[in-house]
């Protein structure tokens, strides 16, 4: 038992220590490797959680739901740190980053990891809130790290919208406490997740409803649901690419995780409004809106940022539909999307470095000039567009078909979003990856391992899912109701 606690806490301690050390160490090579090492350690510990029975303390807990998220998070964090090592190296060579800012960057990276892990294993909704805000603020700082006008402008936008989101989420949290207090009694007990779940049925339904509205908007801002998405494309486009990868691959998931927790709470209360329809609506809006937004993008990173919004929409839609099948699909889609999207950002980051620009107009014929990167991008787009044999096809198949059996009209709307997005993505891919090469092209010193590792997993998952994983997902799907 004690050991388990240690494992849990060490997920938090390791990043904090690493952050402290990285903040003072000079020299980017050393720090980068240290960064990787820390991420690796965290990942290994998180994997060990699988052999830990569900357990909850006053502040921390581990159950089937957050296990999945934690392992995914730490894994992507690891691969991203590997990618970032080579990426940041190049940035220093061309002088876009100074050693000081790199030191800051690595420290922040670990703080971010700390925040996300804390948010995932927090058993106290107040703590979870704090953790998510820490994560958000660190990303704000990292988005602005280039100190260019665009970067600062994006960071500022992210900061303001994020702060409002923070406020709304907090208000929601307070309301939940208010709803819980009469039942559970005053004090910290009324904010402990596991206790809340036990008594949720007796909470004041109307209060819960109001709370959920605020939480949906507050955390929804972080998830990037339209119309709360505005910060997302610019933050992705202007920040360093590893951060874009982390944002799309992880932070959105973490916020979604918080949302899911509260959804479970509402689902347990018969009198409360069904959270499903709200989530379904916002999911559909985000999916279709983002799909249309893909068409006129000029900046390749912003393009994929919008695609993230679209997929978040699909995932929220799936969880909103609920039911074992849709929830399973949602989880699968979330996992696949994190892996694929972060891999795409790895690729795009290297492409942007090779071509020296993010403007789609200046990038062309990549499969000719830098075949490996070009084809990696093709694979990524194929995967993200939901074409087989990649994993996203399976999740989209499940979402659409299971929805179609229950709500044909919604399914058709969703399908519309998917097909429009397909069009938008390939419209750009055609000009970027194929056709006559455009623009100057430097030789690529890319780290291919992370991206192709991700693609390999996504590919494998599209064809064969190991039973263990399936049962895990199924348990979680049952939890989500």
């Amino acid at each position: 038992m004690t050991m388990t606690i240690d494992a849990l806490e060490s997920i938090l301690v390791v990043p904090l220590l690493a952050a402290a050390i990285l903040a003072v160490l000079p020299g980017y090579r050393l720090t980068a490797n240290l960064n990787v090492a820390a991420a690796l350690v965290t990942f290994l510990i998180s994997v060990s959680l699988f052999w830990m029975e569900p357990h909850s303390g006053d502040y921390l807990l581990v159950d089937d739901l957050n296990r999945v998220f934690i392992v995914l998070t730490t894994f992507v964090a690891l691969t991203t740190s590997i990618f970032s090592a080579s990426y940041i190296g190049h940035e220093i060579e061309i002088g876009r980053l100074t050693p000081r800012s790199v030191r800051f960057y690595h420290a922040m990276y670990q703080v971010l990891m700390f925040g996300m892990n804390l948010a995932l294993i927090a058993n106290n909704i107040g703590l979870m809130w704090v953790a998510i805000e820490v994560a958000t603020l660190t990303t704000v700082l990292m988005v602005g790290i280039y100190r260019t006008h665009e970067a600062l402008e994006a960071a500022w936008k992210y900061f303001i919208l994020g702060s409002v989101g923070i406020a709304l989420a907090l208000f929601g949290t307070i309301l939940v406490y208010m709803a819980a207090r009469p039942v559970i009694g005053e004090g910290a007990g009324a904010m402990v997740w596991t206790t809340l779940v036990q008594h949720a049925a007796r909470f004041d339904a109307l209060l819960l409803n109001v709370a959920f509205v605020f939480l949906l908007l507050g955390y929804g801002t972080k998830v990037g649901l339209a119309p709360l998405h505005a910060w997302l494309p610019d933050a992705h486009a202007e920040g360093p690419t590893p951060i874009s990868a982390v944002l799309s691959g992880l932070l959105l998931n973490v916020a979604l995780y918080a949302l899911l927790r509260f959804k479970m709470l509402l689902a347990l209360n018969p009198a409360a409004i069904a959270p499903g329809p709200l989530m379904v609506t916002m999911g559909l809006i985000s999916c279709i809106f983002a799909a249309f937004m893909l068409y006129r993008r000029r900046d390749i990173k912003r393009l994929f940022a919008y695609s993230s919004i679209e997929h978040m929409g699909i995932i929220v839609f799936a969880f909103g539909m609920g039911g074992p099948l849709a929830n399973f699909a949602g989880l699968l889609h979330m996992t696949m999307h994190s892996l694929t999207k972060s891999a795409i950002f790895f690729t795009v980051g290297h492409i942007a470095q090779v071509k020296g620009t993010q403007k789609i107009a200046d990038i062309g014929g990549l499969t000719v000039t830098t075949p490996l990167l070009g084809w990696a991008l093709v694979i990524g787009v194929v995967a993200i567009a939901g074409l087989p044999p990649m994993g996203i096809f399976m999740s989209e198949f499940l979402v659409v078909s299971s929805t179609f059996a229950r709500q044909p009209f919604l399914a058709i709307l969703l399908a519309l979003g998917i097909i429009v997005a397909l069009g938008g993505l390939f419209l750009r891919l055609n000009s970027v990856a194929f056709g006559e090469p455009r623009g100057p092209s430097a030789p690529a010193h890319a780290s291919y391992v992370p991206m192709f590792a991700h693609f390999a997993i996504v590919f494998a998952a599209g064809i064969y899912m190991p039973p263990a994983l399936v049962t895990g997902f199924e348990n979680v799907a049952r939890l989500l109701g």
């Binding site: 809106f289 499940l398 078909s401 059996a405």
Partner: protein, 667 residues
């Protein structure tokens, strides 16, 4: 059998990544195509065994949807289509031995070729919705990669783009169809769907969705627009596969869903199918007549033949709904036989086009001509293909169309008046398209192979590789064989029709003189063999007699030039001018065709110009508006990318207020 087939497919899938490495060296090409050839022959053998043996075999692999697994099965239907697909694949691979030499970027073709073959086979093998759709979409994807193999031509990229979008659209339609049949339980295994057929209303929806989904891949008007763009864009042996084979996979999908899974058909089901088929046939061949690009002509003619197949399928549906199983079997046989025939001669023709393209570098009819002198063997096999696709006896194309007409002639026995009156009209369209197909291929062959060369490229063309000739020759031979001995093919098809139409045609092998008798001899019969022998005999006799008794001397002289000696090749009839009468008759109606000619003023040396402008009505009325809508919507929505922070905040604020209002309004 299914296991063996799966091994073969797996081998193809392994070959695909291996081909990436192989494509680096020139020695790699024959390896890839050789292995593909061998494997497709293996698959043909396996399918043939299970079709003739008549036993079906299943397999379940722990792949795909975790709680479902991937189900595979070979029954009569899939076995037949496996034969069609892999015959085409074998021919294409053999042809590619020679043709592949001319490939500019083998690295972009070789890896996807085996994957494409594997995908098509998997579609036919899979027995649950998920693996079906995965293979289906993977088939689209791999062929897309082949379409954009020559990615530096802008048109190819556009073709690939339209193609992929239409493919995705079709897949979603099929997904909905399966979703309906699987029900809320989400049981995607075909057996389960078969066990619990959907209710009448849902089944109707399934029919429409299947027609849209499979039709968009098969190229039914108005979902055909991608086909003439994509098929010619690919390397020719791939075009042969896409046109000759992949469209048949789509037909398979339609048959599987509508005849096998969707339960008993309602009486009106056949109507949309027949109408779509007839319109497609007529439109397709008219389009084909207007084209200048050789490969595009062939692609449009594919659309026409798909139309014929769907008309026959519609007939089968009508008869099945009226419990006239013998007629249903007849119509279904016609459809399946035409599927087989078309896969043969269309592959042959595309290979021929590829040979021409390889040796002249031209696809434009107006730049070809006189190839019969430069490439005699290609010219001969191509002629056979043209005759077959124009449904001339004693070749195979005629047999299937003849059977289709025989099926139409049974229609008065249907109970519904609508069908009684509609089917002959469809027959008229069918006859029209048959006649126009003849005209179309006279044009193609006459312009491309006969006459005098219209460009140096055509003038100095070389005969193509021996192995390519062999591939095409084999296809031509099979065309002839099926034409003169159709009875055997019909008998082989019996289990398939038994499966999907509930009956079989009378046994043909017993009939004297090997003629075929759809129903009874007093009603109608046809004997390709005797027609062939008759014509051969009388032709020989005539020739022999004349050469013996009268003169057999030949003098070469100048062309009758009407007093204008050595006119340049430009004065020949061109493709456009050849199509002019038909364009005037049909085109002005269907294509808003206009002819703009400008004559220079008297005694000026300027050339006179003439242009025929043909619109594609479908493209104008369906795709352009859609495109317009998308760009409009994106334009309008794009504003949201450029708002100010305050405005974004007001969005958040509005969302909050709305949600609170919802709560306030909540009971």
């Amino acid at each position: 059998m299914v296991i063996d087939s799966l091994y073969a497919v797996a081998a193809l899938l392994v070959l695909a990544p291996a081909a990436i490495a192989l494509s680096a060296s020139p020695a790699g090409r024959p390896v890839v195509y050789g292995v593909s050839l061998a494997l497709s022959l293996v698959l043909v053998a396996a399918a043939a065994v299970s079709l003739v043996g008549g036993q079906q075999s299943n397999a379940v692999l722990p792949l795909g949807l975790p709680w479902l697994g991937a189900h595979f099965r070979i029954d009569a239907l899939s076995a037949f289509f496996l034969i069609v697909v892999n015959l085409g694949a074998a021919a294409a691979s053999l042809f590619a031995f020679g043709y592949g030499k001319h490939e500019e970027f083998p690295g972009r073709v070789l890896p996807f070729y085996p994957a494409y073959l594997a995908a098509m086979n998997l579609v036919l093998l899979s027995a649950d919705a998920f693996s079906f759709l995965v293979s289906w979409e993977f088939m689209s994807l791999s062929s897309w990669a082949l379409v954009v193999a020559h990615h530096r031509e802008r048109d190819n990229m556009r073709a690939g783009y339209v193609y992929l979008l239409m493919a995705g659209f079709g897949t979603l339609a099929l997904l909905f169809a399966f979703g309906l049949m699987a029900g809320a339980g989400g049981d995607y295994v075909f057996d389960a769907m078969r066990a619990t057929p959907p209710t009448a209303g849902l089944a109707a929806l399934v029919l429409i969705l299947a027609l849209v989904g499979a039709g968009s891949k098969a190229g039914l008007v108005p979902l055909h627009a991608w086909l003439p763009l994509a098929h010619p864009a690919a390397p020719s042996h791939v075009s042969a596969l896409m046109s000759g084979v992949m469209t048949k996979v789509a037909v398979y999908g339609f048959i599987r869903i509508v005849f096998d899974l969707a339960g008993a058909p309602a009486w009106w089901w056949s109507m949309p199918v027949i109408v779509a088929g007839a319109v497609t046939a007529a439109m397709g061949v008219l389009y084909a007549l207007m084209q200048r690009d050789l490969k595009r002509v062939l692609a449009y003619s594919t659309i026409e033949n798909i139309g014929i197949v769907f008309v026959a399928l519609g007939l089968a549906l009508a008869f099945k709904a009226n419990a006239m199983t013998f007629a249903a079997a007849l119509a279904m046989t016609a459809a399946l036989l035409h599927v087989l025939n078309h896969s043969l001669f269309k592959s042959l023709l595309f290979c021929g086009a590829g040979a021409v393209l390889a040796s002249t570098g031209e696809r434009d009819l107006e730049k070809l001509g006189g190839l019969i002198h430069r490439m005699p063997q290609t010219a001969f096999v191509f002629l056979v293909g043209c005759a077959a696709i124009s449904a001339l006896p004693p070749l195979n194309g005629f047999v299937s169309e003849w059977l289709a007409f025989q099926a139409i002639l049974v229609s008065p026995q249907l109970s519904s008046w609508g069908l009684k009156l509609m089917i002959p009209a469809a027959g008229a369209l069918l006859a029209l398209s048959a006649a126009l197909a003849g005209a179309c291929f006279v044009r193609v062959y006459g312009i491309a192979f006969l006459g005098r060369p219209r460009s140096d490229a055509a003038g100095f063309a070389q005969e193509t590789e021996r192995v390519s000739i062999v591939a095409m020759g084999l296809l031509a031979a099979v065309c002839l064989a099926l034409g003169i001995l159709p009875g055997f093919a019909i008998d082989v098809l019996a289990p398939v029709t038994q499966l999907v139409a509930g009956a079989r045609m009378p046994v043909q092998s017993g009939v004297e003189w090997l003629s075929i008798v759809p129903i009874v001899e007093s009603r109608s019969s046809y004997n390709g063999l005797l027609v062939f022998l008759f014509m051969a005999a009388s032709g020989m006799i005539g020739a022999y007699g004349i050469h013996r008794l009268a003169s057999d001397k030949i003098r070469r002289g100048a062309i009758w030039d009407c007093g204008f000696p050595d006119a340049s090749p430009v004065t020949q009839y061109s493709g456009d001018s050849f199509a002019q009468p038909i364009r005037r008759v049909f085109g002005s109606l269907v294509f808003r065709a206009r002819e703009v000619g400008e004559m220079p003023p008297p005694n000026s040396t300027l050339p006179a110009r003439f242009a025929a402008i043909v619109h594609d009505p479908v493209w104008d009325t369906l795709y352009e508006p859609l495109n317009g809508f998308i760009s409009f919507a994106t334009e309008k929505l794009n504003v949201l990318q450029f708002l100010t922070i305050r405005r974004y905040l007001s969005l958040v604020f509005a969302a909050l207020v709305i949600l609170l209002l919802v709560l306030a309004a909540w009971p």
